[in-house]
């Protein structure tokens, strides 16, 4: 049996939603657990812990990554964005706003992973077709919505983002 040295803890410094955090963690601690339980940013959800469902997707330096497949220590020096960093209830980001408008969520558990994924997607493809929108979300599982309204939300989010850009507003 492998013996685990539970006394081994290492420091990690990373930026989450623009705020720098330094913590001492076990090397095996998952980034998802670190965000949720050490930083108490519980907006990132864990649906499978084996990288398939996408609920735990966060942005690492702007790219979508599954935080259940990353160790917290692997995020050393990186910038992480979670759904909490993409807007507030009073001032929602374009993707969040689109999900509300299009009824893109029901239980809301998978939603943060979709929101981060779509945020990165429309950054790359500001005016997607419906087929591209569907393709973009095809790596995330949702058990409630049947995806139709999420596809709609992708297109709507891109539209809101484009409007924001032309009006010179902030685009998170």
């Amino acid at each position: 049996m492998t013996t685990i040295d539970e006394t081994l803890r290492v420091p990690v410094t990373l930026t989450v939603n623009g705020v720098a955090h330094t913590r001492t963690v076990e090397p095996r601690r998952l980034l998802s657990d670190f965000l949720r339980h050490d930083l108490r940013l519980t907006g990132t959800h864990v649906g499978c812990e084996h990288g398939v469902c996408g609920a735990c997707t966060v942005l690492v330096d702007g790219d979508p990554m599954r935080s259940c497949l990353m160790f917290a220590v692997s995020a050393q020096g990186h910038e992480i964005t979670t759904t909490e960093g993409l807007g507030t209830q009073e001032d929602m980001g374009p993707v969040q706003q689109a999900f509300v408008e299009c009824h893109g969520l029901q239980c809301g558990f998978c939603t943060p992973g979709f929101i981060t994924t779509i945020t990165a997607f429309i950054e790359e493809n500001p005016d997607p077709t419906e087929a591209e929108a569907r393709e973009a979300i095809s790596g995330n599982l949702c058990r409630c919505t049947g995806y139709q309204n999420i596809c709609k939300a992708v297109l709507r989010a891109a539209e809101i983002r484009r409007q924001g850009a032309t009006e010179g507003g902030d685009v998170p």
């Binding site: 969520l105 558990f109 569907r134």
Partner: protein, 807 residues
């Protein structure tokens, strides 16, 4: 003027919170709680000879290790059989922690509590359990064979057996001009909510109170179960379902072992304890559903009209029967759908197997019943060469025959009596939506291009909104804030929005002022739970009744203050005014102050109320004998029977002539769930239901090997549909209000799922030209079927028919 909310696509009140990471699911709570992990059986059927926990207790950070021997009092007894039924011959349930034997892979044996989950799992790995192997019973056929037993005291592995008959099947069948027999199979799937189960327990030793947060569909049920198992007064236990990440049925089962064990450990250790189910645990220790073998014999006339229907089926209930026989009873009764069978006999056996237990999954036995009936309808059409929609239409119950009593007892023990519905109108809408009459030409054209396409259809009736009751509590604060509470729980159905819509209308206030709490026993201690598409029917009507009581009281107080008749008053936007004299008005918040004779001037409303404080009668008490202080009301809605929603789906599929890949080109839905509170939400329910149905029809199955190992217990191997697998869903609807409840609602939660397997089977059969008798179906299976039929000269394999001539 207040805009009417009922019937409008109001945006959901819960969403801004959920999209910004401000939801609170069970695992978002209790950051400082100790965490539990379980040693679960790796064997499907074995006696436990020894449990050696020595390796675990020494791990730094481990707080406690518990086995069955540690469970004191009722916590160590067998878990309850929730819903007894006379048909149950051997109702076996398990223990919270296995005692002496295990009956499926995944059954909990040891509970480890540690400082965190990582340590708890480390420790759990060091526990050594010694087993003596018993023969596993896997699959319905093996169980039915009965040579090996799951439970020694359940002969033939039969948990329950039920026969219901309406009319007289045998002579009717014998006299029928045509008969057909179909052998059908449908495999297991599971709810698979994105959030697994979870429990967080807080024991307050000063107040001797237990507070449980559980990802449950019934907080009142969990509360009562924990109080009984821990021998605590009910008043000292509270249970809250916080945000719940999907349920679909699996979370209506209760108490799950962990719902007993986590509070038990929290009290014993006098510390918060939590457990968050991981995905593998969910696959092997939460419930599955659907698995049945069916034999349908049908007698019909030359026009395809049913004369007799004789159904036998064997239902796989897994290792234990805690939820009773609800699922097979629903299959047996709801199988009939919109049709009149004339003479109907149904007999089922609910069978034990050494696999995960079976409890309701969205549709709850209806998808299997619909599959049996609709396969039969297609078989009749094929036999007689009549259009499939036409055969169905000839057997429909007509609108003028409503209410229609099928003569059976439903899941609630009450008559299966359809309250309303217009099946011919639904069919006409479906045919128009999918282009039924144009399909033959489309198919011919496709075939000319070397493509194989097929059109499928499925009709269902869904008993929804079963009782016994739900309650509503409405309270107007002196600020004008309206608090609404109902006891049933929410897993994404938008109850906070639809119940607020209903109350806003009933009370005449802005929806922004209405705040709904669900599933919190502190706010509504009497409730049943969320299942059977009952949320809108039951709690919708309950909060409407409660709001009407509050409205009546508000008008009485206001009439007194304004010295007018109640009949002359109206409430709009939170203000009560005299009709035609808008200046004579009083705010609802002021009335809230006036409803309470204790009026400290804490806020502006209380100050405003003083101007209405007139003279009082010294001979009367401040609160009248038949009154209560405060502007609040409570009521319960308790129906005499279920409501019956219905729907019809059609799909066009394309099967690849070479690879047998199956693609859904179009999916059309007509549904009738009575009056609609929020069309946006109902549409979302339909989409999600269809997606789950498609998973069950084409992708999802529980692959057990003969030793009882679940081979695909992960999202890598259990193929839940992604967006790439779910087609665009086209919908249209009918609103036939239920005459049974004040709001006319029927319920919509399960509708989308029910007929999908039947519809896809029908469409593939149409594309391929040979019968589909086993679902789900993969491309490999379709490819094999093609080969079999090519070899056999395209004769149907599992269908026997007799006609008058040959009989």
């Amino acid at each position: 003027m207040t805009t009417r909310q009922f019937g409008a696509p109001v945006k959901r009140k819960e969403d801004p919170r959920l999209v910004t990471g401000n939801g609170r699911y069970v695992d978002d709570l209790g950051h400082d709680a100790w965490e539990a992990a379980f040693v679960r059986s790796p064997h499907a059927h074995a006696r436990i000879v020894d449990i050696d926990v020595d390796g675990a207790v020494d791990v730094d950070g481990v707080i406690a290790v518990f086995t069955h021997e540690d469970l004191d009092g009722p916590a160590g007894d067998r878990l309850p059989l929730l819903i007894p039924h006379p048909s149950i011959e051997a109702g076996r349930t398990g223990y919270a922690l296995a005692k002496d034997e295990v009956n499926h892979v995944g059954e909990a044996i040891v509970m480890v509590v540690a400082r965190d989950r990582y340590i708890a799992e480390d420790a759990a790995q060091r526990i050594v359990v010694t087993y003596e192997f018993l023969t596993p019973v896997v699959g319905i056929a093996t169980s039915r064979d009965g040579s090996d037993l799951v439970h020694d005291d359940a002969p033939g592995n039969v948990a329950a057996h039920l026969l219901q008959e309406v009319g007289n099947v045998e002579p009717a069948m014998a006299a029928a001009p045509h008969t057909l027999t179909l052998d059908l199979e449908i495999e297991r799937s599971a709810c698979m909510p994105m959030e697994g189960k979870g429990v967080h327990a807080h024991w307050d030793s000063d107040e001797q109170r237990m507070r449980i947060h559980s990802s449950t569909q019934t907080s009142t049920g969990v509360r009562a179960a924990v109080a009984a198992k821990l021998e605590l007064p009910l008043a000292q236990v509270e249970c809250i379902a916080p945000d719940v990440g999907g349920g679909f049925g699996v979370k209506i089962m209760h108490p799950w072992p962990e719902e007993v064990l986590v509070p038990w450990a929290a009290r014993r250790l006098d510390h918060d304890v939590k457990w968050t189910e991981d995905r593998r645990e969910h696959f092997t220790s939460s419930a599955h559903e659907r698995g049945q073998l069916q034999k349908v014999t049908v007698g019909f006339d030359d026009d395809g009209r049913l004369l007799a229907l004789d159904v036998k089926f064997w239902h796989d209930n897994g290792a234990y029967l805690p939820y009773g026989v609800i699922v097979p009873i629903i299959t047996a009764t709801q199988l009939l759908g919109p049709y009149k069978p004339q003479n109907y006999r149904v007999e089922f056996w609910s069978m034990y197997t050494n696999t995960v237990l079976v409890t309701p999954y969205r549709g709850a036995g209806r998808p299997q019943g619909c599959y049996a009936m609709e396969r039969t309808m297609d078989a009749i059409a094929a036999e007689l060469g009549i259009d499939r929609a036409e055969v169905r239409s000839r057997n429909f119950i007509q609108p003028e025959e409503m209410p229609y009593d099928q003569g059976l007892l439903f899941q609630d023990g009450r008559p299966l009596k359809y309250d309303s519905g217009d099946f011919p109108a639904s069919l006409a809408k479906l045919k128009a939506l999918v282009g039924w009459d144009d399909f033959a030409a489309y198919k011919k054209e496709a075939e000319a291009q070397g493509r194989k396409v097929g059109l499928g259809i499925g009709c269902y009736v869904e008993g929804t909104g079963v009782g016994p009751y739900e309650g509503g509590h409405v309270h107007v604060e002196t600020s004008g804030r309206v608090n609404v509470a109902t006891g049933l729980t929410t897993q994404g159905q938008g109850h906070q929005t639809i119940l607020a819509q209903i109350v806003a209308d009933e009370l005449g206030v802005s929806i922004d002022d209405v705040h709904v709490t669900t599933g919190d026993t502190r706010r509504m201690p009497y409730a049943v739970g969320t299942f059977a598409s009952r949320g809108a029917v039951m709690s919708g009507n309950a909060v409407a009744l409660a709001a009407r009581a509050v409205r009546a009281k508000a008008l009485r107080i206001a009439a007194d203050a304004l010295e007018v008749s109640e009949d002359d008053l109206q409430i709009e936007d939170g203000t009560i005014s005299v009709k035609g004299a808008p200046n004579a008005s009083i705010a609802l918040s002021t009335v809230a102050v006036m409803s309470n004779p204790l009026r400290y001037a804490f806020d502006e409303s209380a100050k405003a109320a003083t101007q209405f404080a007139g003279a009082f009668d010294p001979d009367k008490p401040p609160v009248a004998d038949d009154d209560e202080p405060g502007l609040e009301g409570k009521d319960f809605y308790s129906p005499t029977q279920a409501t019956f929603a219905n729907g019809m789906h059609a799909a066009i599929v394309e099967t690849d002539p070479v690879t047998a890949e199956i693609r859904i080109l179009r999916y059309c839905v007509i549904h009738d769930c009575g009056t609609v509170v929020n069309p946006m939400i109902v549409e979302g329910q339909v989409h999600g239901g269809v997606a789950q149905g498609i998973g069950g029809a084409l992708y999802e199955r529980m692959v057990y090997d003969e030793s009882g190992q679940l081979l695909n217990a992960s999202f890598m191997d259990f193929l839940m549909p992604y967006a790439s697998e779910v087609p665009h869903i086209e919908t249209d609807h009918l609103e036939t209000p239920s005459p049974l409840n004040p709001l006319g609602i029927k319920g919509a939660g399960e509708a989308g799922t029910i007929p999908v397997t039947a519809v896809i089977a029908s469409a593939i059969e149409d594309a391929e030209g040979f019968p589909i008798r086993s679902m789900p179906i993969s491309p490999t299976e379709l490819w094999d079927l093609r080969r079999q039929h090519a070899h056999a000269g395209a004769s149907p394999t599992s269908q026997t028919s007799t006609t008058e001539e040959s009989a």
